[in-house]
């Protein structure tokens, strides 16, 4: 079977979203070309892509199109693929999105030595953690792991409070109940960050 034929078969299986069939096909195709992987658009596609990227991580050549793989992995929260990408590429520009991601994805941050990350990136990571759903726990964990310490000045702290407050205050909210709840949660975030800045 030539490459074009196997690509067509794999494409159909991916469109059909069947992991079992994919597993059978991979016994002889041995590879999933990155261009066949689509950014998921709904919850079903999201779940399928997450399972695929976590299960068949070895069959995907990460050198193919790293940017695309990062985008898809972070979009669907595929922690195994994201971990592999992080290890192989050390693309720290994606750390803020990791901080905002699913719990399993967020846990990847704990394996990154904070001292190796630039202060600017750390600021973004802290802000992303702040705007995530489980922000209190995440910020606490990051603090314990040294993400609030400056890499430039020893014993110095990352100053992210003012900027975070500014960004949160600029946020626009929907006029429905959900928007109101979001606004209340953000006010709590601002109070928390203000207290952090005064420490």
């Amino acid at each position: 079977m030539d490459e074009e034929e196997s690509c067509r078969v794999l494409e159909s299986i991916l469109a059909y979203q069947d992991l079992e069939l994919l597993g059978i096909a991979l016994k002889y195709t041995r590879n999933i070309p990155t261009e066949l992987l689509q950014v998921p658009e709904d919850e079903r596609e999201n779940r399928f892509m997450r399972e695929l990227l976590n299960l068949y991580v070895k069959y995907i050549d990460i050198q193919d199109d790293t940017k695309r793989l990062w985008r898809i992995s972070l979009c669907c929260g595929a922690e195994v693929m994201a971990e592999r990408l992080l290890k192989k590429t050390e693309d720290y520009q994606y750390l803020p999105q990791i901080a905002e991601g699913r719990e399993e994805v967020f846990d990847l941050l704990l394996g990154v030595p904070a001292r190796k990350v630039l202060d600017e990136v750390k600021k973004e990571v802290l802000y992303s953690a702040l705007v995530s759903e489980h922000w209190k726990e995440r910020l606490e964990t990051l603090e314990q792991k040294g993400w609030t310490k400056s890499s430039r000045q020893r014993k110095g702290k990352i100053q992210f409070a003012d900027e975070s407050i500014r960004r949160l205050e600029k946020k626009k909210y929907a006029s429905d109940r959900r928007g109101k709840l979001e606004q209340v949660a953000d006010k709590e975030r601002i109070r928390f960050v203000k207290a952090y800045g005064q420490e």
């Binding site: 067509r8 059978i24 096909a25």
Partner: protein
């Protein structure tokens, strides 16, 4: 003797082509199908594509169970057998034919393009089981 047998087989194909499936069925049995050459079986299957009557389906069953067909036989318009099945929208025929073209044999006999197109077609039509069997 052989000549008359071939003539007889060609007559059957012609009957099916003309839509006289009931008459063809009356004159056809397992042995007659087994004795047909692969090119003839292909032409017989090709002739059956437009028909979905009960006698036509019975002939199909006879052919799928007893016949050996050639995938490389083309029709007058130059379409391969599997292309004719797909063009005719015969998912049921594709699923039955698929049982006889597994991955390994397809690769060995240079029929991987037929195999791939049938898998894609079956998946497109949500025929998971035959597609799965083909992939195995």
């Amino acid at each position: 003797m052989l000549g008359s047998r071939i003539e007889e087989q060609e007559r059957m194909i012609e009957l099916v082509r003309q839509g006289a499936c009931k008459r063809a069925l009356q004159e056809m049995d397992e042995k007659a199908v087994q004795k047909m050459r692969p090119e003839q079986v292909s032409r017989l299957l090709s002739a059956l594509i437009p028909f979905r009557s009960r006698p036509a389906r019975e002939i199909e069953e006879l052919v799928f169970q007893n016949g050996r067909w050639s995938w490389t036989e083309k029709d007058e318009e130059g379409f391969w057998l599997h292309e004719q099945i797909i063009r005719g929208g015969r998912v049921d025929m594709a699923a039955k034919a698929a049982e006889r073209i597994r991955k390994r044999e397809a690769g060995d006999s240079g029929l991987s393009f037929v195999w791939a197109e049938l898998v894609v077609y079956l998946l497109d039509k949500c025929q998971r089981l035959p597609a799965r069997n083909m992939l195995e």
